[in-house]
Structures are given as C-alpha cells and as structure tokens.
Symmetry: none
Subunit: 533 residues, 2 copies
C-alpha cells in the first residue's frame, strides 16, 4: 500500500468518461469495465456519482458483492455540501457515504467566478463547504481526493483564492488535491508553470493530482507536464472518452510514463494488457476502437511498406518509438489486419490453451483470425468465439452440436398495434431432423428461443443458459446498404457469462452466427466431460 | 510576402498525411483538398512526391493549370540525391525539379545510425548529399525546406552529427531546416529542450521548423512546444491524418497558436472556415469526421447540460475554453437524462425554435423528454427526433406525413444458404391506402425500402434521402428478454444529415420508430414551404 501510494493512476472512465456524447453504460457494462480496469492494474477506479445518478447508486451496491478487485480500489464521486446546509443533512453527501467505497472524490469550485456566478454563494462559504465535506469523510475513515474544478482558470484569475481552496482541503485531511483543467484550454507549458508555482507556494511536498481535458488536443501532454512538475496522481479515461473532445487517454498516459519517463505505474505483467483492455472497453461502450490511437490502435505501429520495408524488418528499433509488444501491440509492415502470432498465442494462453508446442495450429488460427478480422469480425471482446475457433483448430475441425438446414423469422406490427416476432428453425441434431418454433420480443430472441427449443432435448444443460446482452455495430456505414453488421451476444449460464460474435450484412444472420457460437459454447460448457479437459 | 515569411503554416495532408492506412486520394481528390487548404489560408501546401508516386507527378502537372491559389504556395517533396551519384543525374531529383513548384521540401538523414544502417553510406557522403541537393535547387531559384528525418533521436545519439546536417543545409542555402520527430516518440519537454539547445548552438536566429508525429499522443503539444522554443515553421495535416497514429492536426495547431498564444497564422476571416474545411477534407478522404476532435469536432463544444444548464446559458465563457463561433463551430447542449427546462429551451433555440414566450410548450416538451428518457429514449444524439417533438408540441399535435396500418418483415436463411429480407407496409398517405413491398440486405433496410416506396409518389423529395448509418444499443441487459432496444438512424439528403431515435423491446419496431421520424423529417425538409418557416 505504501509504495503504491507514491503514484496514483486514477481512472474515471465510468464517471467523467461516461459524459461522452452517445455513451450510456448499463450497470452490467459498468461492472465489466471496472473488472477490465482492475485487470489492467490501475490504482483507483472512479465508478460514478451515487445519489445524482440512480444507475451509479446501483453500481456501487452491486460492486460490493459482484466485483472482486485485485489491484484497484473503488472511488465514488460527489460534490461538496450545498451552500448554507449542514454537511450531515445533505442527501447527496449521504448517498456518497452510503456507496461505502474506501475512497471518495469530491468536486469543489476553485475559480472564484464560478463560486459567485454559477454556485451563487460567497468565497467564504465555498471554503467552508470544502473544509466541512472533506472533514466529514475523513472522520468516517475515507480517503478523500478533492477535484478543484476549473483550477487553472481560477488560478489565473485569482491565484490567492484558488490556493486557499487547496490549503483548506489539505487542512481538512484531503489525501490528494487534484488540479482540474475542466474546460481543457491549457497547453503543457502553462500547466508546468502553474503546477510548479502551486507546489512552491504550498511548500513541503504537497500531494497534487492532474485532471486534463482534451480541448486543445493536449490532454495527455498536459498530464505528463504536470507529472514532470511534481504531480503524483493523474486522472484519465480509457481511450480518452469524455465530454467534448474527451479526457486524457489513460493508455497514452501509461505508455508515456512507463516507456518515456521510466515511471512504473502498473503492476508487473500488466502493460501488455493495454491493447486488449482498450479494445474490450470500446466494445462495451459500443464505440469503434480508434485504429490510429497511440500505443493501442490497430494502426499504431503500422508502417506502409515503402522503400524501407527491409530496413524496418532488420532494424525495427530505428522506426518504432517503442517495442510494440511491450504494450500488447504488433508492428505491421503490410496493410493487413491485426493479430499476429504473438497476440494469438498470448490470448490462447489466457484461455488455458497452450499453443507454444503447436506452431501449425498457431499459424492456422492466426490466418483465420486475420481473414475474419478483414471481413469485420472482432475477437477482442468475444472470448468464447475465439476459444471455439482455437479449439476447432486444435481438434482438427469444427465440432458443432447441430447443423442448420434453414430458418425463417417474421416480425409483424399488426393492425391492433401488437408487435410480434416468431422464428422457425430446421436443424439436424445428432442425426435427427428437428423443426422448432419460438416466439420472442424481437427477431433475435425468437431465433434464440427456436434454436434452444430444437436443441434442449439433446442438450438439457442449455435450459439454464440465456441471452444476457446484445450489441450491434454497423461497420463502414458510408451507405446503409453496403454496410456489414457486427453483433456481440453475451450469454450466461449458472456460473459465468461468455461473449460471442457474428458478422454479416444482414443483422439477423449476424445474430444467428453469434447465437450458434453462444449455444455451442454453452453445450461444451454444460457437458460434464469438459470440466476435465 | 515578407511578413508572411515570419511564420509558416506548412500543410502536408497530401504527402505525409496520405500515408494514413486506408487513405487513397485520386488526383482530382488531391486538387480538391489543395483548394480547401488554400481557402483556409495555410502558407504552404506540400502536394506529394513527384517521381516516386506517378499520381503525384500528375497532380503537379494538373495543378499548374487547374489550381488557382490565393493564399498558399505549392511545395513538392523529394529526397536528397542518391549516394555516390551526381545530383543533376538523379532521376528523382529531376522529377522534383520538373514539378515546377516555387518551393521544394527535401528529406535528409540526420541520425547517423540511419545513415549507416538504412542508407548504408558514410557520414561524409550524407553531408555531401545534403549540401549538393540543397544547392542544386537554390541555384534553380527554388526555396528549399530541409526535413531532417529522425532528428530528435539522431540528436540524442550524436548531437554533433545531427547539427552538422543542419549547418550543411543552411550553408547551402536552405530557407528552413525542419526538425522531424519521425517515429513520434517525443514529449513536449524534450522537444522544448532540444529546439532551445539547437538554436543556441547554431547561434543567430536560425529558421527552424517542426514536424511531429502522434505516437505519444503529443503531436500537437510537441509542435506548440517547438514554437514556444523558437520554431517559425510548423508542419501538420488536416485532422492529423498520417501514418501510424498520425501527424499533428493542423486545425488544433491553428486553434492553439491563434487563441492561446496570440500568433496570427491565418489571413483575416479564415479561422472560422476551420470546421467546414476539416469536414470537407474528411469527406474527400472518406473517413468519418471525428466528432470529438478538438476545435472542429461536432461534439467539441457539446455540454451534457445537467445541473448547470442555466449557468451555461447565462455565462458560456465560464464553460468554453474559447468561443466556438470563432472557429466556425457551435456550442451544443445535449438533452440528457438530467434535462431540465433550461436545457430544453437552450437546445430548442439552437434548432431555431424559440420557446421563451411559450412556457406551456416548454413544460410539455420537458415532461415528454423526461418520460421518454426514463423509457430509454435518448435525444442527445437525435436532434431531428427532438425537433419533431418540439414542433409537434408547438403545432398542437403530431403532423405525420402518413399513418401506419401494419407492416410485416420476413428474414429467411434458405436451404441453399441464401439470406433474404423482405418487408411489406400498409399505410395511409393523404387519404390513400398504399401497400408497398421492399427488399433489403436486412430487416431495417427492407422496411426502409418498403416505406420509402409507399411514400415517394406523394413526397418525391424523399427519393434523394437515404439511410446513412444505423446504431443499436440494448439498454439494461440484465436479461435479454426484459431489455429495451434503442436504435439511432442517421439519414442524409442532398444538403445535410440528421439523426433520429426509436426505442422498443423489439429491434425492428424500434427501428421503425426511428425510420418514421427520419422520413417525417425528410419530408418536412424537402417541402419548399419549410425554407421560410
């Protein structure tokens, strides 16, 4: 704990990052994102704003039983108490306490213009609000981070008052005071100057943090500048998601701090998870991963094979700013899809399938993944589909529990306003031809019901499997008609959940592919024989 | 000319930016991009590498007659002469001369390791290549820029040699020597340190340039740091397009230099063209504009309203780092979960609908938005649906161009493997009962085709409207069966795009709602009457 406290990697994907236009996480999504961030090894995960957002209140309640964090601690976010109220009576403060997180992050005004014009209270009352609220949580044994909203503008306008807010927070027991460039207008030189000045004026070794927004396209640089000037706590979000142009991308922050400045900010063995975690969170947020993102983008180390292809191959250090493998990425010379042998092998090993002694299988799977990814498939968030693909290659061919003859799905909006969906599937199961019909509240549910009905007599274990979540993405949507649809299906059994993928120009057929993988995986999982395999 | 020479905005979208994976400009595309960059007012446009790329040779030939530049000068790119050859005999040098541009940009090795290991020549010969080639073009009356490839790594490895390359170029008559962070591994503090040191060691006021790549997510910051350290020439690309994570985004560079550092880098009246030029170039490159791009993204100034909508309304300067209008952008308030009256009013005003004098309508819309958002609707990305909702409240009721009787959609996977979708809609249009059938590559396309077929005779303007993008989200996926599906449909006419939303437990019905809004909006838009409304 002591040494981890020398530097804080603080992730706010689930709170500030969720302000990104178009993003809307379910509670289940939030739990999955938190699990991924913990796997990556960040020190703190800010999960949301209990009280203000009902979904976030539920997230913290479920997190207590459903999240088993290995590296990170959860942080709940809230504001200082209302002006003129007693801190203990403030319902928002109570909701924050009730989240029962080991740490809380409080946002406070530090720009006197915001105090007077937005909050409409006095300079003194704002300081009292900061002091009271910090002390209240410290007294309850919580670690307190204080986010100074609009700090840099506030410091420029009235440095004395901005510093007074910082001093008040420290005096009340705050662990770290975070300087926020809330409107994102700063440049690195200004950040460095201000952080340096603030440290000098406070004296000692104040524990300062940095929260940057990307409105000048400098959020990562501003964060690095603050660290170089002495900040020991940095706030970022996965892939830089956030309001307006977003927050500082935590993957670029990690990459820069680790490989450029020699700060060890992740536990051993975690840096190489960056690419996978980045892409998996993008899938959950239902945002296409930025292929050109620094460090983690599929094209981050893609060189157009020009005059220097052979030189690059012989001497990659001359052309790459870091070795792509250390962040879990690959160098690509030709214009091909990602997934080299190394990442397939790494991924397989994670799933308990050792391909080290099977170069033939490794090659076959790598080729197949490349070919499918070129068609729009993505295995980043679809472990079950990837596992089926590797197992099929290991076993010498696909082992489906059934074969399809045909299906038909009908969706009707009737004259009386009722909307009904019905699906009929014709399949062969263990030599028997089975026709089954299912209804559902949509075409995919109906198809799922029909397929399950056809299979369940032969595979009774499927009766406990159900469809938990369903995500759809249109790829290359320049014209609706030419696009390809990618579907991710999350299924759950009694023990755990798994995700599968399907791609086709028709959303129903894409869903069918994902459902077939989902139930195939479910059948394999339900068979007692598999437990020992 | 003299004063314009004090600072160079040098655009390389068409040369280095064209290295971006997936980008392939035709010559006509290149001419269009050059025209847009000239309109924006950049000082130099690097158009390509004649000789190396046949398309670029043609570009320069056509540019002489087809491009009428008002602000910019064209630059052709090339390399220093081959080792051991006479400069006048080098075919690549000849092709560069034949491009007949007033200026050329020569790339040279400045990292001794690249000289020895990639170029496989001697330190001395490389210096001779630089000196000969620069002098050759200067003698022909051309202005010469020299790009020092991998300068920062080279300077770190062998500062004396790197400086010798710079000195050789200046001695031979180069106008500007550009320090390139070719592999993009630098951070701003290191750039500032190196540029400062180089200037000191060279003495006088050397005319230095900066070329940054975005591999640390700091390309813009590195460019700004170089300018702060004395560089007077910066190279960037539109939207940061380029190899790997790309180049420095010229729009963010312009925004930062102008609004943060007070450098006037564009002619009067040009700054506000940034958004339009950025999006137009994205269209030509066939890349979806990055909605979260600094300064020019559609979401760059989009605030999730929440608690502070009223404060933002009164005092936008407290929340925006610059006035969005000066770069041709708009502030947008997103109507979200926490929408109150203030944000509904503000949003309506953005859409040209003033509700200030209609508190009854404002209340009704606010209530309706809250109720619908509780059901899973989201208007933050669906301006067209929001506008229809407000207009319906203003006009006293919904004004749909048709009413639905029923529809039926069938998706079949046939025995021969073919997947087909077909939809039939029965609607009433202006008193007439219409039955129409459409096919598509999925249920939504089929439904869209059928509905459009039913309406187009009465509303011929719809023939130019099509479905551009389609997004699906399952909300609260705790159990597939209980989930609600939200669909966002982006449609486009001849002039602009609009987004609509639909929510239902059945994905097809949700899509239907979004399609109905999309075509209703399309009909209203296509009616000439609306232009004056």
């Amino acid at each position: 704990m002591r040494s981890a406290d020398e530097f804080h990697l603080f992730d706010t994907t689930l709170r500030d990052g969720a302000q990104r236009e178009g993003v809307s996480y379910s509670v289940t999504d939030k739990l999955a994102v938190a699990g991924l961030l913990d796997e990556l090894g960040v020190r703190f995960i800010e999960g949301g704003w209990p009280g203000a957002m009902p979904k976030d209140t539920e997230f913290f309640a479920r997190a207590r039983t459903e999240l088993d964090l290995r590296h990170a601690e959860l942080v709940a976010f809230g504001a200082t108490r209302k002006a003129g109220a007693r801190v203990a009576d403030d319902p928002q403060v109570r909701a924050l306490m009730d989240a029962e997180t080991p740490a809380v992050c409080l946002v406070a005004k530090s720009d006197v213009r915001h105090v007077e014009r937005a909050l409409r209270t006095s300079r003194e009352e704002n300081l009292a609000m900061v002091g009271d609220t910090v002390a209240h949580f410290v007294a309850a044994g919580r670690r307190v981070f204080l986010d100074c909203e609009h700090f840099f503008d506030g410091y420029a306008a009235d440095p004395g008052y901005a510093l007074e807010v910082v001093r008040t927070a420290f005096a009340a027991g705050a662990d770290v005071v975070v300087l926020c460039d809330t409107n994102g207008g700063m440049l690195p030189s200004g950040v460095a100057r201000t952080v340096t000045e603030v440290r000098e004026k406070l004296g000692g070794s104040p524990r300062l943090g940095m929260h940057a927004q990307n409105d000048t396209s400098c959020a990562v640089a501003n964060t690095i500048a603050a660290v170089e000037a002495g900040a020991m706590h940095v706030q970022g979000t996965a892939n830089g998601y956030g309001e307006r142009p977003g927050n500082a991308d935590i993957f670029a922050i990690i990459g820069n701090l680790t490989t450029k400045l020699g700060h060890k900010v992740l536990p051993d063995g975690c840096l190489e998870k960056m690419v996978r975690v980045s892409h998996a969170i993008a899938e959950i947020a239902n945002i296409a991963p930025d292929t050109h993102q620094a460090y983690v983008g599929a094209s981050a180390f893609a060189h157009k094979a020009g005059l220097h292809a052979s030189a690059i191959k012989v001497d990659p250090d001359l052309y790459n700013h870091v070795d792509p493998a250390i962040v879990g990425n690959d160098m690509r010379i030709l214009v091909t899809e990602m997934a080299g042998r190394a990442s397939v092998e790494l991924k397989s090993r994670e799933l308990g399938l050792d391909l080290a002694g099977r170069p033939d299988v490794l090659s076959a799977v790598t080729e197949q993944v490349k070919r499918k990814e070129a068609e729009g498939w993505s295995f980043e968030a679809a472990d079950a589909s990837f596992e089926l693909l590797v197992r099929a290659a290991l076993d010498g061919g696909p082992a489906r529990p059934f074969t399809l003859e045909s299906y038909r799905v009908i969706v009707e909006h009737r004259e009386d306003g009722a909307v009904v969906s019905e699906a009929t599937v014709k399949v062969r199961v263990r030599g028997e031809r089975v026709i089954a019909t299912g209804e559902g509240n949509g075409p995919v549910n109906a198809l799922d019901a029909a397929l399950r009905a056809a299979l369940v007599r032969h595979y009774p274990g499927l009766s406990t499997v159900d469809l938990r979540d369903y995500k759809v993405r249109i790829l290359e949507g320049s014209h609706g008609t030419g696009a390809v649809t990618r579907v991710l299906v999350e299924s759950g059994g009694e023990q755990h959940n798994w995700t599968t993928v399907g791609v086709h120009e028709n959303v129903v057929e894409a869903s069918w592919h994902a459902l077939v993988d989902a139930l195939t995986y479910g059948v394999r999982n339900a068979e007692p024989a598999r437990a020992g395999s």
